[in-house]
C-alpha cells in the first residue's frame, strides 16, 4: 500500500516558500497563486492564497508531500488544516526583510502550538548582499541554540536539499532520543 508523509513549509509573505518547493518537487507545484491586490504587499506580482503542493516520490511505497502555507495572515485559517499529521515543518524567513522577523516568530510559535513536531528555520535569500547574518537572525528571531537555523537560497536545489535533510536529521534524532 502506498504510504504518504508530509512536511509543511511556512513563513511570512514573500519569504520564498513557493520557490523552495518548486526547487525539489518532481511535479509542477500545484500552486494557488492570485494577483496581489494590497498596495502594501506589492513587492511581488502574485501570492499563494490556499496552499502550494509539491511531491517527491521516495520509492514505490512511499511519497513525501511538501505543503506550502499561504503567507498572508488573512489566510491563516488554512494553517492548522495543513499542519495536521505533518512530520515536521520549515519556517522560511527572508533574510533581507527584518520587518518580517516578528511575524516569522509569531508563525513559528503558532505552528509549535499545533504539534510538537521538529522544525528548522531556513534563512532565505542568503545570496543577497543585504541579507542578515545567520547569528544575528538567531538573536532577532529569539531562537534557542538548539533550534537549527540554516542558510538557504530557495531557487538553489542543493540549499533546499540541505534544509530538508537537516529537518529529517532532527526528526530522526528526536525519534532516537525518544526510544532511548
Amino acid at each position: 500500500m502506498m504510504q504518504t508523509v508530509k512536511i509543511v513549509v511556512t513563513g511570512p509573505f514573500s519569504a520564498g516558500k513557493t520557490e523552495f518547493i518548486r526547487s525539489v518537487s518532481e511535479i509542477d507545484v500545484v500552486s494557488t497563486e492570485r494577483k496581489i491586490s494590497t498596495e502594501a504587499e506589492k513587492i511581488k506580482e502574485t501570492t499563494t492564497v490556499a496552499m502550494d503542493f509539491g511531491r517527491i516520490t521516495v520509492d514505490e511505497d512511499l511519497v513525501l508531500y511538501l505543503f506550502g502555507t499561504p503567507g498572508q495572515r488573512r489566510f491563516d485559517f488554512m494553517w492548522e488544516i495543513l499542519s495536521e499529521g505533518m512530520l515536521g515543518f520549515i519556517v522560511m524567513v527572508d533574510s533581507t526583510r527584518p520587518e518580517t522577523f516578528r511575524e516569522a516568530r509569531s508563525i513559528l510559535e503558532t505552528f509549535r502550538a499545533y504539534a510538537p513536531t521538529p522544525y528548522v528555520v531556513a534563512a532565505n535569500k542568503q545570496d543577497r548582499p543585504d541579507a542578515w547574518a545567520i547569528d544575528d537572525m538567531r538573536l532577532a528571531l529569539r531562537l534557542d541554540s538548539k533550534v537549527k537555523i540554516l542558510p538557504s537560497i530557495a531557487t538553489d536545489k542543493d540549499a533546499v536539499k540541505n534544509v530538508l535533510l537537516e529537518l529529517l536529521y532532527s526528526i530522526l534524532a528526536e525519534m532516537e532520543a525518544g526510544s532511548s
Partner: protein, 269 residues
C-alpha cells in the same frame, strides 16, 4: 438605529470615539469575558462606569483612593448602608472627612480605571441604551473622552503586537537553562513574581492567567517581559497528546526506516 454589535468588529476605542463625536447620552452595556460593564455618558462625556460586581459604593471608592482608612470604611458600611452615595458624600463633607473635590476626583479615577479595564476586552456583545440615565443615588462625573481614546488606541496597538509575539496562550513556560541566572537578583514586579511562581512546563499560559486572575493582555504583557529578559521560554505543555498521525505506521522501527528512506531520496535528488 440601534447601536449594538461585537467588540471583535468594533473596538472599545471606536465606540468611545463615536459616542464622543455624536455627543451621545445613555448607557453602554458590554457583556465581556465573564462580567458585564455599564458605562454611562452625558452629552459625549463619561459620567460613570462600573465593571462587574465589585463594590462601587462611594465608601469603597474612597477606600480604594486612600481617602478613608479600612476601619472608617467598615464603620461607614455598617452605619450608612441605607444612604445613597449623594447623601453619604454630603455627610462626609459636612463632617470634614473629605472635600467635595476629593470625592469627585476619586470617582473620576474609579471610572477611568474601569474604562482602562475595558481596553483589554477584545470580544463581547455591546449595546448602547439611548438616554438611559445613571441611577439617582450615584454621583456622576464629567470626563472628556479624548485622552481615554488616545490611551485606548495605544493599548490596542500594544495588544496587537503582543498577540503577534505570543499568538497562543495554550503553550507552557519553562525557565531557560542559563547557568548563573539567579531570580533573586532580578527586579521583578509583583505581577511578574506571581506568574514566575507558576512557571512549569505543565501549566499553560492560560492556566497561569486564570490562577493569577490576569486577562489575556496582562498575562501576555508579563510573559513578554520575562521572554525579553531571557528568563523563560515557550514550550509545549507537558502531558499534551502527541499526534499519532505523523507516520503511516505506529511501529518505531518502521518509522525510522521511513525517515532513513526519505533522507536517502533527498540526497539523491
Amino acid at each position: 438605529m440601534a447601536l449594538k454589535g461585537n467588540l471583535r468588529d468594533f473596538t472599545i476605542t471606536q465606540l468611545l470615539n463615536l459616542i464622543n463625536l455624536a455627543k451621545k447620552t445613555g448607557t453602554l452595556v458590554i457583556e465581556g469575558p465573564g462580567e458585564i460593564a455599564r458605562v454611562t455618558f452625558r452629552e459625549g462625556k463619561l459620567a460613570y462606569a462600573q465593571v462587574g460586581q465589585e463594590d462601587n459604593s462611594l465608601a469603597a471608592i474612597l477606600l480604594r483612593s486612600n481617602k478613608i482608612t479600612n476601619s472608617q470604611f467598615k464603620i461607614l458600611k455598617e452605619r450608612t448602608s441605607q444612604m445613597t452615595d449623594k447623601e453619604l458624600g454630603l455627610l462626609l463633607i459636612n463632617a470634614g472627612y473629605v472635600s467635595q473635590d476629593e470625592i469627585l476626583k476619586s470617582i473620576q479615577l474609579y471610572c477611568i480605571n474601569s474604562i482602562r479595564r475595558l481596553f483589554s476586552w477584545v470580544e463581547g456583545f455591546f449595546r448602547f441604551e439611548q438616554d438611559q440615565p445613571l441611577p439617582e443615588d450615584k454621583i456622576s462625573v464629567k470626563v472628556d473622552l479624548e485622552n481615554l481614546i488616545i490611551e485606548g488606541s495605544r493599548q490596542l496597538r500594544e495588544w496587537e503586537q503582543l498577540q503577534e509575539e505570543i499568538p497562543t496562550l495554550e503553550m507552557a513556560l519553562k525557565f531557560t537553562d542559563r547557568p548563573g541566572t539567579n531570580l533573586r537578583n532580578i527586579n521583578l514586579s509583583v505581577e511578574e513574581w506571581r506568574v514566575v511562581s507558576y512557571v512549569n512546563p505543565k501549566n499553560t499560559m492560560r492556566q497561569i492567567a486564570r490562577a493569577t486572575r490576569m486577562n489575556d493582555l496582562e498575562i501576555r504583557r508579563v510573559v513578554y517581559a520575562l521572554l525579553q529578559a531571557g528568563l523563560v521560554e515557550i514550550v509545549r505543555p507537558g502531558g499534551a497528546p502527541i499526534p499519532t498521525r505523523m507516520f503511516p505506521t505506529q511501529n518505531k522501527e518502521e518509522q525510522k526506516s521511513l525517515v532513513n528512506r526519505l533522507i536517502a531520496r533527498i540526497r539523491s535528488i
